[in-house]
């Protein structure tokens, strides 16, 4: 009978190390691993989704006479088929959304010969329907061991629980103190008219959609995995250029893809997608230097940044970012948005990999920012977290955005 184990504990209690240790206690190379982000979900060896599937689905030790992938898989175990693999076949795996990458990884596990899987908080990136399917699949994998870390689960039926309780307090953060000194501000109202966008050679992500973003409020972007939530954030920050449409700030035209971003502070889904330097000091210095182009924005002082770094659990701004644990980097990704430098903040899946206590503190911090006039846009599949924040829900589906 396969072992299904749920590893429970707060951040920095050694859960990830415990999961990895238990996976590697098995025969080396016998366990499938899905880490928190893309680099630890996909093999990194494939240029297309089809190749990624082929790498995991091939086993020449078993069958050299032919290569009937799907037939062989059907005999061994049920496959996890949530993604429309035909339409995704030619896409590069890193271009998939975070949730789609997790779904692809689960599919690859289901067609492989691995006898065990370890998942480190990756299921938190899935929308509710896909998450339920994934948990169901893992629970009913009769011949495969499963180890899971998930901050939204304390227990699972038919799973044993392993408690990780020895907490390293070095990275404790105080979000309430971090936002306490932020002064009230009148963020501009944002109007988006006729927004259209498609990736080169791809489908329409947005098709002539219009909506408003009011300051002093939190706006939650919802929608299934891959519908364009992160893409919208990139459009608003000027990383992508819409094929049609206009953005106005209090009625004045705003084109961040031309003039540069002077409105949004973004905390990306994978925190490593937002660093501008090797150390925290380098990162913050460059962000402050960029403000020189926008006289209306006031950069925080060095003392303010040092204080904030301490409140985020970082002893020195000379800290090399990649030497921090991933959960600490994730929290640190909120530092710049919570300086209050930019009038709007965007948080892309901020709760992934974060324990409940931290999620609650972040929810209160978001409410504080809104109460002081800032605008907030956040993406989360965690309904419990969203329910802690007074917010307006914006649903992205079939190319449109609706309240």
């Amino acid at each position: 009978m396969a072992a299904h184990e749920l590893i429970v504990g707060p951040n920095f209690s050694g859960r990830s190390a415990l999961l990895m240790r238990r996976l590697r206690e098995r025969t080396p190379g016998a366990s499938f691993y899905i880490g928190p982000y893309a680099e630890a979900a996909l093999s990194g060896l494939s240029s297309t989704v089809a190749d990624e599937i082929e790498i995991y689905g091939t086993n020449t030790a078993q069958d050299r006479s032919g290569f009937q992938l799907l037939d062989r898989i059907a005999r061994d175990r049920p496959t996890f088929d949530v993604l429309d693999l035909k339409s995704f076949a030619d896409r590069k795996p890193p271009t998939l959304s975070g949730g789609e990458q997790v779904l692809l990884a689960l599919h690859c596990f289901s067609i492989s010969t691995f006898r065990a899987i370890g998942i480190d908080t990756a299921l938190e990136q899935l929308d509710p329907d896909n998450r339920a399917l994934a948990l169901l699949y893992l629970t009913f994998c009769e011949d495969q061991d499963a180890l899971l870390i998930d901050n939204r689960l304390d227990h699972l039926d038919d799973w044993s629980r392993i408690d990780a309780s020895e907490v390293d307090h070095r990275f404790a953060c105080d979000l309430a103190a971090a936002v306490a000194p932020i002064a009230p501000r009148a963020a501009p109202a944002i109007a988006i008219e006729g927004l259209s966008f498609h990736y080169p050679g791809g489908w329409d992500v947005f098709a002539d959609t219009s909506f408003m973003l009011a300051p002093g409020k939190a706006h939650r972007l919802t929608g299934a995995n891959g519908t364009g939530k992160t893409t919208l954030m990139k459009l608003l920050a000027g990383v992508l250029r819409p094929s049609a449409g206009a953005i106005t700030l209090d009625g004045a035209p705003y084109e961040p893809w031309t003039s540069g971003n002077r409105l949004f502070a973004l905390a990306t889904q994978n925190p490593d997608h937002q660093w501008c330097g090797a150390t925290l000091a380098e990162d913050l210095t460059r962000r402050c230097a960029a403000l020189a182009h926008h006289k209306e924005l006031q950069a925080p002082t060095s003392e303010q940044l040092s204080t904030l770094a301490t409140l985020f659990g970082i002893a020195s701004r000379d800290q090399h970012l990649y030497e921090l644990p991933l959960a600490a980097r994730k929290r640190l990704s909120w530092l710049w948005p919570l300086t209050g430098t930019m009038p709007w903040i965007m948080l892309d899946e901020p709760t992934v990999g974060q324990d409940r206590a931290t999620c609650e503190a972040l929810a209160r911090a978001i409410d504080t920012m809104c109460a002081r006039g800032y605008g907030v846009i956040f993406i989360t599949h965690d309904d419990d977290f969203a329910d802690m924040i007074a917010h307006e829900q914006l649903l992205i589906a079939q190319g449109t955005i609706s309240s």
């Binding site: 630890a40 995991y56 961040p256």
Partner: protein, 241 residues
């Protein structure tokens, strides 16, 4: 066409373009590659043509500026110690660029012949040692990682306001930050994979299995036809020097 045939055809065409020295010689080789491109991609041959011209054009401009405008004579004339002429320098630039254009064009055309195949299947179809196949896949993986790192770094720096999406003086001043960020990103991606994912799964062994799977015929009839034509073009290029 098979991967083996495409590679051999490409290598012979490259040899023919290097051997060609006269306009007629280049025309013969270029006509062959154009026919190859049309056979593989139909109307998409025009796209391959434009891409190849786009790749070579900046080099042609730069070389023209250096050799024709500034230097004013060809390298052979400099070596011979003669006065030389700008016409000879222009001819030298034209020969170099024509060769590069043909090489770029034949690579683009070969891609079009395998538009329906994945990179993994193409590499698996090659009749080379497993180590070479693995090296090719890892090289492609590194290229993809670099492209991914550039995208990630650009996103980070645009959001922070350090650079803009559109060309700007700011981007020129801060280009070095982009390079540093890309390099850092590549390293961290590679470390993440090699520390966690690959050792746990034995991913490189999976790759061995995937590359060792049956790959179909080594050569097809079309391969022999195109390779023969390429050899004929090489002979023509040599004869027309």
């Amino acid at each position: 066409m098979t991967p083996n045939g495409a590679v051999i055809f490409g290598l012979v065409v490259v040899a023919a373009s290097v051997a060609a020295a006269s306009p007629l010689g280049f025309a013969v080789v270029a006509a062959l590659v154009l026919a190859f491109a049309i056979a593989g991609g139909g109307r998409k041959a025009a796209t391959a043509l434009l891409w190849s011209a786009g790749i070579v054009a900046p080099l042609a401009l730069f070389m023209g500026l250096v050799w024709v405008v500034i230097v004013g004579r060809a390298p052979a004339e400099i070596a011979a110690g003669v006065e030389g002429s700008r016409i000879a320098a222009a001819a030298y630039v034209a020969v170099i660029c024509a060769r590069l254009f043909i090489i770029a064009f034949v690579v683009q055309a070969a891609f079009q012949h395998f538009a329906g195949a994945t990179p993994l299947r193409f590499v698996r179809g090659l009749t080379v040692p497993l180590t070479v196949k693995k090296l090719l896949v890892l090289t492609l993986s590194l290229i993809e990682t670099l492209l991914q790192a550039v995208d990630r770094a650009r996103t980070a720096l645009i959001v922070s306001g350090t650079i803009t999406r559109q060309f700007s003086l700011r981007n020129l001043r801060h280009g070095w930050i982009l390079i540093q960020t890309v390099w850092l990103t590549v390293i961290t991606i590679a470390i993440g994979r090699t520390r966690d994912k690959w050792p746990t799964e034995g991913t490189l062994t999976l790759l061995d299995n995937a590359l060792s799977a049956p790959a179909g015929r080594r050569f097809a009839a079309a391969d022999l036809i195109w390779i023969t034509l390429a050899v004929a073009a090489l002979a023509s290029a040599l004869g027309l020097r």
